[in-house]
Symmetry: C2
Subunit: 435 residues, 2 copies
């Protein structure tokens, strides 16, 4: 009864390869006009009526009839309770993960710096944390405790004094693992609201929900659209596309392992993308056999099949070097170098969200507990963006302190350039400081 | 004939102060529907017809009839020619500025890092420059050579191999200072095109204009709208609002100096904002007198008057400490601490794009040649964003290289967490690596 998996088999030397590849990679986030309009409406209502609007939308969209925002607020004590409600095994796993994520991110913290020039002029940058950050956590099935750790811990390592989390609880359904993760990550306050109304409340503030400086975390199309709409009023992280993995294998890793690594990406959703590159055609056959052998044993086999048949591919390349070139063209979110000497390949990799090196580093370890962040640039945006990190929760102010001597010299240069731009008040402001 | 300047005088203790302040600061970038539609149309045309569309729009909008893109392309030799055409004084000023900007930004370059755990697992980040960056430079009067230096030099310091500049030349009018600055900043290629068509060409590439990974630089509403539209396909810098300065003075700086510092901001455009805070009411009177005395002598006095009367203010505070608190609430783009001991105030400043310290550091020095970048977060966005810097032209890839021992341990934790999220292919992928 097992229908063979129809996954694309490509060869980089086939004449229409580029055409096929472009088709595979094509993905554009569609901004639906109807969604935009509903989101704008929700944002306006929350700006105008604050808590009352949030309570109404929560009743309507989450089926949660409450009297006021007080019923949608969880304090630290409730988060600590969640830690007691999960299993000891789960608690330990969360603690291990949280601690490793914290240790890794401490390497990313940036400090203020300054230097003094010969004439006494001081230049530098003052680095400070954001005051308050909002973390969106999806409700229901997409409510991932690991995502809470990955978003909240870098903010806390940056020194953000207040991290506010919002998570919808449709029909009152609370995910204790998510609350336990929030507790371990140091989240300060939780509101059980979601959707565009939660984003609007975080951006503009209500009587109960404090306005934040930046909103991070994944969400559905309404949440993503609302984040785009409030961008500028507050900072946001990237709007993520579907998740992707590119595996480069020299043909010497157990094909079952590689098959499961590809499955682990494909089980996220139907648009997820799993691609394998290898110079070894026999190995590609072996992995295809493993995929067919193991597919039926997966809990999410239907979704995995759709994902692999519509967006997956097994691609024959001539060499590992050529695989690196192709990877740079794709700029994958996750790149697995399942080869004997991954360090030798590393410097050839210019664009990737995260690089998983060697046969013993499947993406799943990075997703949960290796330490690096699992919030990564998707859809080729690794060409110009980075994993979520402590640097996303710090900002810089330039510092300039001219000595009278320094100012006098600089003012001469500034005066010439300002007059060249016809900005004469600039020129005169500088000239006042010439001795 | 001099009409007295009607600039707002406020006292932080007046009952309606917050209301007045909110009114002063209110500014929301309006995205005009008609502009959006025209920009979408231009982007579609450039995506569909490439160079031909760019040439047509350039003829239509810039009044420049050319046969092909070849006529809209300037090579390095043409940029070097510009260096010979400007005055020796201008050339020297540009060289001094470029060198100082380069030296300062070299302090911002970030390096790859990694650490090895006891079991041999390696974690870190690989830092790499973007491949190709596009720099938008406005044409006509807003064409500023200093802006070319400030945008291109950080990219080059980051190691970006190719910086492509676009600058419209309406009716063929070329700004030699801009080309000279491009030459000194190391710009690789220049196309004399502008508007949404230039942004679209940089984002999607045409036969002549190479697609880039990030687009930076200021522009009019069409350019800003186009940048917003292509965000995601490429990276962009912030969309800037009107420029602002907040001056905090202890009352001991020459009031003429402070008046000219306020003018230098107000001469940018009618929406620019200049605010002075001082605990010394007599000093505020003196500055108001200086403003009135000097206003008539300004080349742009009409614009300055509109800006100061609509968005400027002289505000009496109780203390310098209170001034810092108010400054944090405003999160100004430019903050001038014209006081005896600015270093004592610095740690109280949490949010500001750039901090100009002491009586000898007017904003104008930072705008041109002190070294720090003049592309700064506006409209309160300094709460969550930073000056343009080398870090905007570098990106990071997480690096994870598990030893077999490390993988075996991590896999146990990952397995528990993955199963807690019902992602069983993730769990099984991890479990394969357990010894």
């Amino acid at each position: 009864m097992n229908t063979p998996l129809k996954i694309a088999r490509l060869d980089i030397n086939q004449v229409d390869f580029n055409h096929h590849l472009d088709g595979l990679l094509a993905w554009e986030g569609v901004s639906d006009k109807a969604v935009n309009e509903r989101v704008e409406e929700i944002i306006s209502a929350v700006r105008a009526r604050g808590d009352a609007a949030v309570v109404e939308y929560t009743a309507r969209f989450d089926g949660l009839e409450v009297a006021s925002m007080a019923d949608l607020t969880l304090d630290r004590a409730r988060l600590e309770q969640a830690l007691d409600r999960i299993t000891a095994e789960q608690r330990q796993a969360l603690e291990v993960a949280a601690e490793r994520v914290r240790l890794y991110h401490e390497h990313q913290r940036q400090d203020s710096w300054r230097y003094t020039e010969a004439d006494g002029t001081v230049l530098g940058q003052q680095v400070t944390p954001l005051d308050r950050v909002g973390l969106y956590v999806p409700g229901g099935k997409a409510s991932y405790p690991s995502s809470v750790l990955m978003n909240a811990i870098p903010a806390k390592v940056a020194g953000v004094p207040e991290v506010v989390m919002v998570v919808p609880t449709p029909r009152g359904e609370i995910n204790e693992l998510v609350l336990a993760a929030a507790c371990l990550a140091g989240v300060d306050r939780v509101f059980t609201v979601g959707g565009a109304q939660a984003v609007a409340a975080l951006a503009y503030g209500t009587d109960s929900i404090p306005g934040v400086d930046k909103i991070v975390g994944p969400g559905n199309i309404y949440v993503a659209t609302a984040k785009r709409a409030v961008f500028g009023k507050v900072g946001i992280d990237m709007i993520a596309g579907p998740s992707e993995i590119l595996v480069i294998c020299d043909g010497q890793t157990d094909p079952d392992w590689i098959a499961m690594d590809l499955f682990s990406q494909a089980e996220h959703d139907e648009d997820a993308q799993s691609i394998l590159l290898s110079p070894d055609a026999d190995f590609l056959d072996a992995v295809e056999a493993s995929l067919n052998k193991l597919l039926g044993s997966l809990e999410r086999s239907d979704m995995v099949r759709i994902s692999l048949e519509s967006r997956g591919a097994l691609i024959k390349v001539d060499s590992l070097e050529q695989a690196c070139e192709l990877s740079n063209r794709i700029a994958p979110e996750h790149l697995e170098l399942s080869v004997a000497d991954p360090d030798a390949m590393l410097l050839q990799i210019r664009h990737a969200g995260a690089i998983f090196m060697g046969r013993f580093t499947p993406e799943a370890l990075g997703d949960y507990c290796a330490g690096p962040n699992h919030v990564l640039p998707t859809s080729g945006t690794a060409r110009f963006s980075s994993p979520l990190g402590v640097y996303d929760f710090q900002k810089r102010s330039s510092v300039i302190f001219c000595s009278p001597e320094g100012a006098s010299e600089l003012a001469k240069t500034a005066s010439v350039l300002a007059r060249g731009e016809s900005l004469t008040a600039h020129a005169r402001s500088a000239e006042y400081r010439i001795k």
